[in-house]
């Protein structure tokens, strides 16, 4: 038995090449994901954090402590040591004078666990600096070089004397530059003050003991676990544990997401495998019948085929694990560059699980073929007809309808209900998945239906076109399985394209509707600091500026009658409403904001409040304020939740920086002149840029494009496997049709014409998969955007040009996929083909 299975594999090894490749790619995805996430998890666990600090004391007010507090805290019982920390913002500038990405932060040097020198020495003089390893790498600076930095609008110079590795407490971001304490205080503009004091406990005392004593000494101090903003006392070990847990959780979330994509690739691969085995079994009917005739039982035959599948799965899996490992290594190196040291964590589960998945998927996919093999009647050995049993189409139809009916019901409900949210959206997507599954089950019939119109233009090619169409249609099940593999991958791609396109159109519409200002000032990148209020006022003073709508966001406690909740809030200047920032009012007028508070229509409905109600808003630093609800506005892309006038809210906020400042022009002002003025005003702040409204929109869209690009990249593998499936089907079909090809050649088909026949068949199969995939993708994408953007199903933006291009590309990929099978077909020797039994 085993020998039989192995012999048969060896005999068909050429025909299994594509199957092996499909298994290998899918497994590589799984293995790579598992290795990478395990490494990321390990890196999170292994990151060296400060272990000596029991308690970090910070001030909840302006974030500063008197320097003398250090000595007072050091004298408390149970405190072995008190380390002062002076930290604040500051950008390291590269050789070209621009801020080095991700190399920010100034801190004070101390001979504590925080710093470990890798080269050089600690900063001693006033103009000396030590750089963190990543900062040194990013800026290219070495010990002895002079570097420039930017702090609070002014430039400074310092000589690099050392490079250090930083040990963080909790999630603290490692600072890029360390100066002597006094230098750091001067740079940050806080002479005689520190930003935190790290307390080391004597043996036997814990964070709780120290916290109790600090609270006794400093009235009003509170302990909050972890590095939550506003905390006064940070429990060191707890913060470390939390940071560690967070990184582990992030690694696991990433793993789940990537495994989702790997699953798509595996499902697509499953179709390729199923097709291969089904074709091999078909081609071996005689041999199988002979085995039955000499006495093998059905079970033995089935086990033989499944055994072959298991071996193919294991071989492909082994190759996949190797490839996955190869992919994980550079990915982990990249992670190491960005988030501290990381090595590839090779563990047994990460190696064995993908292998098991590979073998499992292969065996499962070959199941139907194995059953068909077992049903071969022994007489087929004598009759020798190729056992293309017509198959029970009725059962297929019933199964397809059984999936389609609930799919339509669920999808229809989610499409029509006016209460659309995440849950309903998920239900709707489930309906779409059911429908796609139904299409897969009904695919043979649908293929026949689709082939007719798609093949019509081929008839113009004459005999070759007719032959190609006939070949694609002759075995609908095979064409269907091949097209299904492409369809699944393409549905997801199309769904994503429709979703992405809808989101972008939503963004464009939102900006057009909400941004009245022709100019926008923003931090240049994600990592850049927000615009402080002083800077906003400076912008407002630029000649030709009428109003500036600086937008700040917060989450504030809200009470209204019996309601008590945490509500999102936006703070801006009421004077800028209408000129810089447009707001569509449902109740009240935009001018009413100065005297009260606005609420979005969404929240007003959810909270059951209306104009005239009294709302009590709590402030993060304590205290509260009662305001009158003066207006209700329609959903907006820039304003969410409560809208508060900045004169009331700004002094109470913790983070007063704005990430967007919309600048409206005075009547008659020249946009170019104002822009130049604004640019001069932010000249010494390299983190800020001035953008026109169009540039602002482009920048908003770029983020979406970036994410879409990554997702397309992850899905590309599934599409590639689908195309491998086309190559596979064609190659096997060509082998199967040797005699027919010989006949065609004898009758006068040239090699070129024969290649055209195979290519056209391939393009046809790819197109069928593409058309079905686009249809399935529309179901997914339309529902997805409906759930995410709360719109109607039919408001989905279909990127028609993009999809048409994708279909054309797929047809072309089909033609390319046919290259190898077509060459094989063209090389068929006429006489051997005719002689073949």
């Amino acid at each position: 038995m085993r020998r039989l299975a192995l012999r048969s594999l060896a005999a068909h090894k050429g025909r299994l090449a594509m199957t092996l490749a499909a298994v290998c790619l899918g497994t590589a995805f799984v293995a790579g994901t598992m290795l990478f996430s395990a490494s990321a998890e390990r890196a999170g666990l292994d990151t060296r954090r400060r272990t000596d600090v029991a308690l970090r004391v910070t001030d909840a007010g302006d974030g500063r402590l008197r320097r003398s507090a250090v000595d007072e805290l050091a004298r408390l019982p149970g405190v072995a040591d008190a380390d002062p920390v002076v930290s604040g913002p500051g950008s390291l500038l590269g050789p070209d004078g621009t801020a080095v990405d991700d190399a920010g932060g100034v801190t004070s040097w101390a001979d504590s666990q925080r710093f470990a020198l890798t080269t050089g020495r600690a900063p001693a003089g006033d103009a000396e600096v030590a750089l963190s390893g990543p900062a040194a790498r990013a800026s290219g600076a070495r010990v002895g070089d002079t570097v420039r930095l930017l702090r609070g609008g002014s430039r400074h110079q310092a000589t690099v004397v050392g490079v250090y590795a930083y040990r963080a407490l909790g999630d603290e971001a490692p600072p890029a530059m360390a100066f002597q304490e006094a230098t750091a205080q001067r740079l940050l503009g806080i002479p005689g003050q520190v930003t935190a004091v790290d307390l080391v406990a004597v043996p036997g005392a814990g964070p709780a003991d120290l916290a109790g004593r600090v609270q006794a000494a400093v009235p009003g101090a509170t302990v909050i676990d972890g590095a939550v903003p506003g905390a006064t006392l940070i429990d060191g070990p707890a913060a470390n544990a939390e940071a560690r847990d967070r990184r582990v959780a992030e690694a696991r979330t990433l793993r789940t997401a990537l495994l989702g994509f790997a699953a798509i690739a595996l499902v697509v691969g499953g179709f390729v495998i199923a097709n291969t085995f089904s074709m091999l079994v078909g081609q071996r009917t005689r041999e199988l019948a002979l085995l039955r005739a000499v006495g093998l039982s059905r079970r033995q035959l089935r086990r033989m085929v499944l055994g072959e599948a298991a071996v193919v799965g294991l071989l492909g899996g082994l190759a996949g694990v190797a490839v996955g490992h190869g992919l994980a290594v550079p990915a982990v190196r990249l992670l190491g560059d960005q988030a501290g040291p990381a090595t590839v964590a090779v563990s047994w589960p990460a190696l064995v699980a993908p292998l098991a998945v590979a073998a499992g998927v292969t065996v499962l996919s070959a199941w139907a073929a194995a059953r068909r093999a077992a049903r071969t009647p022994p007489v087929a050995a004598l009759r020798g007809q190729i056992g293309a049993t017509p198959g029970d189409t009725r059962r297929r139809t019933i199964a397809g309808l059984a999936l389609a009916v609930p799919g339509i019901a669920v999808y229809g409900y989610a499409a029509l209900t006016d209460q659309i949210d995440e849950q309903v959206g998920t239900v709707g997507l489930g309906g779409a998945a059911l429908l796609i599954l139904a299409v897969v089950v009904l695919a043979p019939g649908l293929c026949r239906l689709l082939l007719r119109p798609l093949a019509a233009p081929l008839a113009r090619l004459g005999a070759t076109g007719r032959l190609a169409a006939g070949n694609a249609a002759r075995n609908p099940r095979r064409t269907a399985a091949t097209a299904s593999a492409l369809m699944i991958s393409l549905s997801v791609v199309t769904g994503l394209a429709i979703f992405g396109h809808s989101v972008k159109r939503h963004t464009v519409a939102g900006v057009r509707r909400d941004v009245a200002a022709p100019l926008v000032v923003q931090p240049a990148g994600r990592g850049d600091a927000a615009i402080p209020q002083a800077e906003v006022e400076q912008l407002a003073r630029v000649p030709g500026v009428r109003a500036v709508a600086a937008l700040r966001y917060a989450s504030l406690p809200l009470r209204a009658g019996p309601l008590a909740t945490q509500a999102p809030a936006t703070v801006t200047d009421p004077a800028a409403l209408g000129t810089a920032l447009r707001l569509e009012m449902v109740a009240g007028t935009a001018g009413d904001l100065a005297g009260g508070v606005f609420v979005s229509a969404d929240l007003a409905r959810r909270y059951g409040v209306s104009v005239g109600d009294r709302l009590t808003i709590g402030w993060p630093r304590g205290g509260e304020r009662e305001l009158t609800l003066a207006g209700v506005y329609q959903g907006s892309s820039l304003v969410t939740g409560l809208l508060l006038p900045q004169s009331v809210a700004l002094p109470q906020l913790e983070e007063t920086g704005a990430f967007t400042a919309l600048v409206a022009l005075a009547p008659g002002a020249d946009e170019a002149a104002v822009r130049a003025g604004l640019e001069r005003a932010v000249a010494d702040r390299p983190g800020l840029v001035v953008r026109s409204r169009a540039e602002y929109l482009d920048n908003e869209l770029r983020g979406a494009d970036l994410i879409l690009g990554v997702l397309y990249g992850l899905l590309a593998l599934a599409v590639v496997i689908g195309i491998l499936g086309v190559v596979n089907t064609l190659a096997l079909s060509v082998v199967e049709r040797t005699r027919e090809i010989g006949l065609l050649r004898a009758v006068g088909l040239t090699r070129g014409q024969l290649r055209t026949v195979v290519r056209a068949e391939s393009a046809l199969i790819a197109l069928v998969g593409g058309v079905l995939g686009v249809a399935g993708g529309y179901l997914l994408g339309a529902m997805f955007q409906r759930a995410a953007l709360r719109t109607g199903l039919l408001e989905a933006a279909v990127p028609v040009g993009q999809l048409a291009l994708a279909l054309a590309g797929l047809a072309l990929a089909g033609v390319l996929a046919a290259a190898w099978p077509a060459r094989r077909a063209a090389r068929t020797d006429v006489l051997t083909a005719i002689a073949a039994e």
């Binding site: 007719r466 006939g470 027919e740 006068g748 088909l749 090699r751 005719i834």
Partner: protein
Amino acid sequence: MPPPARSATLAPDHSRDGNGVDDEMTATVRAAPEAVVSAVGLAKVYGQGETRVTALDGVDVAFGRGQFTAIMGPSGSGKSTLLHCLAGLDTVTSGRALIGGADLTSMDDDQLTRLRRDHIGFVFQAFNLVPTLTALENITLPMDVAGRQPDRELLAAVVDAVGLGDRLGHRPVELSGGQQQRVACARALASGPRVVFADEPTGNLDSRSGAEVLGFLRRAADEIGQTIVMVTHDPTAAAYADRVVFLADGRVVGELGRPTADRVLERMKRFDRRGS
């Protein structure tokens, strides 16, 4: 297979049988007027060294226009090889294979393909039809492939002679073996080729279907003057031909004009006796 039925249309026309001149054992080619196909010193050797097989050993033979020739000989005597070489399906070791004056041995694959497509008709023992095409599409295949319009009159005559009636739109699987072979013959004839080669076209058929196929070929020779070369090992089938060429060990060993089944059988027995 029964002797050819003497029906008006299907029977071989032996009315012109006189006292058939039996130029027996002529190794040299009888000078046929207007030879459409001819082999000159044709030799074909397969393999090398110990596995070397001489399939054709200097064959000189010519086939005249409108002539229906049967090639006979024991199994392995080189009948199929001769046919393949003359049809441009196989390469020649030495000598020349000529069709309409053109030398096949100097042509490349594309030229041979075009020659087959435009000037040669072919009927194999089995598997003659493309399963995805209908009977009619199979008949017009060589012309479709060439992008050529069929000769309407000829096509109509051939299609009519197939006698398939309304089954012309059916796929090969829906036709009987005899019907399939007749469609194959029609395909070979419909493009008006210079010559039709048939390699044991009735080998897989029962005698009745075989007779229909042979009758069909006979009519083609009589009514449209089609040149036909047919390999067979069945004396009854050979009796449909105008002339029989005997092969043995890759050589032409004899010829018989206006054959009847009995005379062919008798001749073959003589060869057998001599061979043993």
